[in-house]
């Protein structure tokens, strides 16, 4: 009571419709508890308190300056409080074959893991992949040690909301020294008859010396407004090697908030490539904590925006230990009225000597109405470090344009070549060849049909 009064006077808390979600939880608390694992109960209650305290993020907060969720949150979304599957199959809208990519394929339909075609015995021995909710019941010992260990520390309203409502998600466990022979592919697909919000929690665990590649694809199938709010926690133990590809290809009525939290232990190597090809409003929170010496992390991404699309990548690399190496490269191509945001936070702890951290944000604006805001944010408390950052916002190189045209290449084709070339070094950082080829094609397709709507998934055509 007190809380409510105080906030309505002193802060905008509550102005984005938090009450609806708070009331919904109060009402459905028992249903949710009944339907989900006891392992999640404490975290859910903590998240609820956190959400009541924080509310939804607003552009008045430094971290969310470039992401305005006001209009997305004004929609009256339906939510599941009991995430049994709705009966719609992802398979009928989605015959996914990234050509030539042989993967272990899984779906999260809205907010729930969908029963998979992959036979358990085809996975390497000891590997567990499946529904977070189900495995919390059958193998709680796999989950307990890790679940919410990162997300519970996030002072973020969206992550808190996720903590309240998420009951299921994708789970992957790769035991010590086991390598997955094929990439794992997770398709997050949104299907519903009315405006809908989905919260899901993914958990990925690689034990010492394990190796895995995960490709996460975000898609939307029905012509309604979607809000997806996902949290993914990844734990990469000593000497493990992990690659995380996130490919978004959603329709323009989608708001996609994704929080990716990665914990890296000694001598582990991680590659992230976060590609936003088509979307509505996207906010990626990416936090990589280097919690062991001699870790390496490479974080890349790109975004292509037109119409009123908005993409904001908020990245944070925490050099908590000495002798770690991080490289970051993000590229945006924005046309029409689209908006881009990028924050590159690099934190170097006091004793994290011999840190190397390099960051680059390069952006092309195709039209005067497009906007890009990019911000490096270096917080360095050690003295023996090598850090650099660079940010550019520009147009296509006119001398290169003229050179191409002077060889007979039309203006439109020359622009296409240069835009495509601009993204090349991000795409080169895809280490699954079939996926790389596919993304090259999709990028070209996307750039060529810059204004065409992409209501279905081009990845699977």
């Amino acid at each position: 009571m007190n809380n409510q009064d105080a906030t309505s006077i002193s802060s905008p808390l509550g102005s984005l419709g938090e009450a609806k979600y708070i009331d919904l939880y109060k009402q459905e608390r028992e249903t949710i508890r009944k339907n989900s694992s006891v392992l999640f109960t404490n975290y859910r209650e903590e998240s609820f308190e956190r959400f009541r305290r924080l509310g939804f993020p607003t552009t008045k907060q430094d971290d969310y300056k470039y992401t305005d969720l006001t209009s997305a949150l004004s929609v009256d979304y339906a939510l599941n409080t009991d995430v049994e599957n709705s009966g719609k199959s992802p398979y009928d809208v989605f015959k996914c074959t990234v050509q030539g990519i042989k993967s272990y394929l899984y779906f999260v339909l809205n907010d729930a893991f969908y029963p998979s075609d992959v036979k358990k015995e085809t996975l390497p021995e000891g590997v567990v992949i499946g529904s977070l909710k189900e495995i919390a019941g059958t193998r709680p010992e796999l989950i307990e040690r890790y679940f919410a260990k990162q997300s519970a520390k996030k002072e973020d309203g969206m992550a808190a909301l996720n903590g309240i409502f998420a009951q299921d998600g994708f789970f992957m466990y790769v035991p010590k020294n086991v390598s997955l022979d094929k990439p794992v592919q997770l398709i997050n697909i949104m299907r519903h008859d009315s405006d809908f919000m989905a919260n899901s929690h993914n958990l990925v665990i690689l034990e010492e010396g394990a190796k895995a590649q995960l490709l996460v694809c975000d898609h939307t199938a029905d012509d309604v407004r979607f809000f997806s709010n996902r949290v993914t926690e990844v734990f990469v133990a000593e000497n493990a090697v992990y690659e995380h590809y996130k490919l978004e290809n959603t329709h323009s009525k989608t708001t996609n908030v994704s929080t990716l939290l990665i914990d890296q232990k000694e001598s582990s190597k991680v590659l992230n490539n976060i590609i936003t090809l088509h979307n509505g409003l996207t906010r990626n929170n990416i936090e990589i904590a280097l919690n062991g010496e001699h870790t390496e992390t490479l974080l890349c991404g790109m975004a292509v925006g037109d119409k009123n699309q908005e993409v904001d990548n908020y990245t944070s690399i925490l050099h908590n230990k000495p002798n770690c190496h991080s490289t970051e490269l993000f590229k945006y191509i924005l046309g029409d009225e689209s908006k881009g945001g990028f924050t590159g936070r690099i934190y170097v702890a006091e004793d994290a000597q011999k840190t190397e951290a390099y960051q680059n944000s390069k952006n092309i604006l195709l039209d005067k109405t497009a906007r890009m805001r990019t911000k490096p944010q270096l917080e360095i408390y050690a003295d023996d470090v090598r850090c650099s950052h660079g940010a550019t916002i520009g147009q296509l190189d006119e001398t290169a344009m003229f050179y191409l045209q002077s060889r007979g290449i039309s203006e439109s084709e020359a622009r296409l070549l240069l835009m495509y070339a601009f993204t090349a070094d991000v795409i080169e950082n895809i280490r699954i060849d079939a996926l790389k080829d596919r993304i090259k094609l999709m990028t070209e397709h996307r750039l060529r049909n810059n204004s065409a709507s992409s209501d279905s998934c081009v990845i699977c055509r």
Binding site: F402, Y403, L404, Q405, R407, I409, L417, A421
Partner: protein
């Protein structure tokens, strides 16, 4: 083939070409020489259609068409080629993709079918040999990390691939050592043909020992002030441009 009449051109409001006249016929090799700042590179840029230059007066006809009305890419498709003094590096665009796109875009303009993949590869191989270009250069991005000599060789290689009717070589000899110069010049000579004309823009006589011109012109203060045979180049080499300047002084 090329007829330039009373050409005037500005950059940022400053007049560089001040009434230039020149006629080039098929099969001919012309050399244009002149001191720094005379307008040599401006002439090359204006002919190629560089947007920074504005033509304020005059006329250029190329194979019967009004060249100045055409977009740069249309000029190329009509058979005009400029070998750049400073070729541009384009990271991320492979030489192969660049040339195939250029070739097919030109073909599309002329209403021809795109080149078949096998035919394209055969041409690449043949033309690379012509300019003694190392094989791996064409596997790289356009001019990226090429040495000065490699860039110039790449220009002549592109010329060989695109088979223009008129090629303007802007200071192709600058930055080349003697061996590279000989190789580039050999390439150009092999490309000389009865239905093709070449204009060589150069500071020095040196290149003209290898590419022997039919005509030599002196460009001074935005105009061609003297024309002659190849002996004119030798005189310029021996005596410099002072005598031209004196002649031009009022």
């Amino acid at each position: 083939m090329l007829e330039i009449k009373n050409l005037h051109a500005d950059i940022n409001g400053r007049e560089i070409l001040k009434g230039l006249n020149l006629q080039v016929n098929a099969g001919e090799i012309h050399a244009i020489m002149g001191p720094n700042g005379a307008g040599k590179s401006t002439l090359a840029s204006v002919l190629a259609g560089h947007p920074a230059f504005e033509v304020t007066e005059g006329e250029v006809r190329f194979l019967g068409k009004n060249l100045l009305e055409l977009a740069p890419e249309a000029r190329a498709a009509e058979g005009f080629f400029l070998s750049f003094q400073y070729p541009v590096e384009i990271p991320g665009v492979s030489m192969v993709n660049f040339l195939r796109t250029a070739m097919n875009e030109q073909r599309k303009y002329r209403g021809e079918e795109p080149v078949a993949a096998s035919e394209f590869l055969r041409l690449m191989k043949e033309k690379k040999e012509l300019v003694e270009m190392q094989s791996n250069l064409t596997n790289r991005a356009v001019n990226e990390g090429f040495s000065g000599g490699e860039k110039k060789r790449s220009e002549i290689f592109q010329m060989a691939m695109l088979e223009p009717r008129l090629a303007v070589l802007d200071e192709t000899d600058s930055g080349l050592d003697i061996d590279a110069l000989r190789i580039v010049a050999n390439g150009v000579n092999k490309l000389a043909a009865p239905d093709r004309a070449i204009i060589v823009i150069t500071h020095y006589q040196r290149l003209l020992e290898y590419i022997v011109p039919d005509f030599v012109h002196v460009l001074f203060d935005g105009r061609i002030v003297k024309s002659g045979g190849k002996e004119l180049a030798l005189k310029l080499e021996a005596e410099g441009y002072d005598w031209i300047k004196k002649e031009q002084a009022p």
